[in-house]
């Protein structure tokens, strides 16, 4: 693997500058961090290194406080989820001073990308809508259900995510399709494109909480992100909530609270 152009643009954290059998690759510049693919212990054991460089726009005191808090929160929550059987990557190592966290590599692509590929780039014309309605929605519905049950399991362990979006879930490539690349487009036929486990990632804003309000806000954030990211599949969001209810005993109270949170959103005064 050669250096990707982005690798040379940004200084990587020091740990990635040590000689290694395979060079680290910058996979994504996420919302806060940069995600590198590298190896852990063995040259054939891929891992993800999430690096939160200091943000030049932020006051240094605030910056240090947030970076530290988020790396530690992410590590703590990932470990807890792992213990309780919530589908998340395993944590390998952290260094909150240097600003990084090393975790298991999840082979797949963000759910956002998979859904958009599935929905295609058709314009939102009436014809396309008719077509969308007649197309077989079963795989998409099944994916929504897996999302709902992953969140149900998460909330059951007393964790709220804080930033649920379809970018922060990876659709893990089913074992028989796995290889070492991250994306590997076009390899799967359409019928199988939405198969695989939903793995939750990006827990930097996560907190331990069992309050109905916090859980409802978690769902509300996802509902809105979903609607704005995948407007054509908005009506399928109901499926997420349905399977959330089937996975999580306290869901009915959370869903009632969700009604309140939605109302607040809609009724929020727009005045100065």
């Amino acid at each position: 693997m050669s250096n990707s152009p982005a690798m040379t643009e940004f200084p990587p954290p020091q740990i990635l500058t040590y000689p290694a059998s395979s060079a680290p690759v910058l996979i994504a510049q996420g919302a806060e961090g940069r995600l590198y693919k590298t190896t852990y212990l063995l040259p054939d054991q891929p891992c993800a290194l999430k690096y939160r460089p200091s943000k030049p726009y932020r006051h240094p005191i605030l910056d240090a406080r947030l970076t530290r808090a988020r790396i530690l929160a992410e590590a703590r929550v990932l470990q807890r989820c792992r213990r309780e059987g919530v589908p998340v990557p395993a944590v390998y190592a952290t260094n909150e001073k240097a600003g990084w966290l090393m975790m298991e590599w999840v082979d797949g692509a963000p759910v956002r990308q998979r859904i958009n590929e599935w929905l295609g780039a058709r314009p939102d014309t009436e014809a396309a809508q008719v077509e969308a309605q007649s197309a077989d929605q079963t795989p998409l519905i099944s994916l929504m259900q897996r999302i709902g049950s992953a969140i149900g399991r998460l909330h059951r362990t007393g964790v709220v995510h804080g930033d649920l979006t379809t970018s922060n879930m990876i659709l893990q490539r089913p074992k028989e399709h796995q290889h070492n690349g991250h994306t590997g487009e076009g390899a799967m036929e359409k019928g199988k494109a939405l198969e695989g486990h939903v793995v939750l990632i990006d827990f930097g804003l996560a907190t331990q909480s069992s309050s109905e309000e916090d859980r409802a806000v978690d769902l509300y954030v996802l509902e809105r992100a979903f609607g704005s990211t995948h407007p054509r599949a908005e009506e399928l969001f109901e499926q997420v909530l349905q399977s959330y209810k089937e996975t999580f005993k306290q869901a009915p109270a959370v869903l009632r609270k969700l009604e309140d949170v939605r109302m607040r959103g809609r009724k929020r005064s727009m005045l100065g």
Binding site: E9, Q29, G30, A31, E32, K55, P56, Y57, R58, H59, I61, L62, L66, R112, P123, D124, G162, D163, L164, T165, S167, L205, V217, V221, R224, A225, G227, S228, T229, P231, R232, R264, G265, R266, K267, R268, S269, M270, L271, G272
Partner: protein, 357 residues
């Protein structure tokens, strides 16, 4: 064969804005071939309330009613056009404060009847976005819309401006304005502007500890405001006893650094999510140079850039209503007189954006 139909070279709209304490009337023209806009006039009159107070709907509406004719005449004079050249009258349907919105809607209806021109009702937020795009040339940016009444992170997709993130309680501008009241800073020309100037005088760049409240692409400001108010009370007590303490400037500095870091963070999250590296800041708080600077540093890291406008277009104005209204008018949109109402709540994503691909 005598009459070759005269095709107009340009279309002209007059826009009326009064959803908060600014009354603005502007006139814009669009080239019929290229669509490129030209600002013909942009007149504004602001209702300024005394220090320590906010503007009340009743007084604000009275201000708009008493100044409407004066501002309209000035806008027409500046534009140097005749009334016959105007194609439509645009006005703010919402969101905003009920009484001021209504007073301006009534005035717009009057002009429409008086001059026999069609009406076009405009969403205030869409007005900001379209004006920002037109002035800066940002083609498809993530938009941070920050004003006294709104805090939203928006991106365009499939005929709508979709809201990715927003405040879960009060708007950021409201937070700043109310803190200005706590400190009894002048509201002239705007409380936020005076906070920005005061923050620059903070001597040691000391960051006082305020809560930081980001939830995904949403955020919240009321907890921060309460804490800042508490710190202000504490400061006054100590100062009264002649003890050494931090200053109002330090408080303004800390408040700005904290809330702007939150805004930049949620914007960055939306940019990562939709895969864009352009950001456009609109709304009154968008004039703040510190916010622009912070946003610029973030965008540069992502290999992109920030687009912002100055106070003529950032702060509520009539020209943005004229511009967005004319875009809709050109797609055939009209607001019949009997439907020319206004509404305090009118979400950005309710508007069908027919004029974009």
């Amino acid at each position: 064969m005598s009459d070759i139909p005269m095709t107009k070279k340009r279309r002209i709209a007059l826009g009326c804005e009064g959803s908060a304490n600014k009354l603005g009337i502007g006139i814009i023209s669009h080239d019929t071939l290229s669509g490129s806009p030209t600002v013909l006039s942009n007149v504004r009159d602001t209702f300024v309330s005394p220090p320590g107070t906010g503007f009340l709907p009743k007084d604000t509406a009275r201000h708009h009613r008493s100044f409407f004719v004066r501002v309209a005449k000035q806008a027409l004079r500046d534009a140097g056009i005749s009334i016959s050249e105007i194609d439509c009258i645009c006005y703010t349907r919402g969101p905003g404060m009920g009484a001021p919105l209504t007073s301006v809607a009534i005035a717009a209806r009057t002009l429409s009847l008086l001059w026999d021109k069609p009406l076009v009702g405009v969403n205030h937020c869409v007005g900001h976005i379209e004006m920002g795009r037109a002035i800066t040339g940002a083609s498809n940016p993530v938009v941070l819309y920050v004003s006294g009444g709104n805090t939203q992170v928006i991106a365009y997709a499939e005929q709508r401006y979709r809201i990715f993130g927003e405040t879960l309680d009060i708007a950021v501008g409201n937070c700043l304005d109310r803190f200005a009241r706590t400190l009894e800073i002048s509201n002239d020309p705007a409380p936020g502007y005076n906070i920005e100037q005061l923050a620059k005088q903070s001597a040691d760049n000391i960051l006082l500890d305020l809560p930081y409240a980001v939830k995904g692409m949403d955020c919240s400001f009321s907890g921060i405001l309460s804490r800042a108010d508490e710190l202000a009370a504490f400061m006054k007590q100590k100062a009264a006893k002649g003890e050494d303490t931090f200053t109002p400037a330090d408080l303004c500095f800390s408040l700005q650094e904290t809330v702007f870091a939150m805004l930049v963070e949620i914007t960055e999250r939306a940019m990562a999510h939709v895969g864009s590296n352009q950001v456009l800041i609109v709304g009154g708080v968008g004039c703040n140079e510190r916010l622009q600077e912070m946003m610029g540093a973030m965008a540069a890291e992502r290999g992109g850039s920030v687009y912002a406008t100055d106070e003529r277009f950032c702060i509520d104005n009539g020209i943005m209503i004229a511009h967005a209204g004319l875009l809709a008018y050109e797609t055939g949109f009209r607001t019949p007189l009997e439907e020319s109402t206004c509404t305090q709540r009118f979400r950005t994503d309710e508007v069908f954006v027919k004029w974009r691909d």
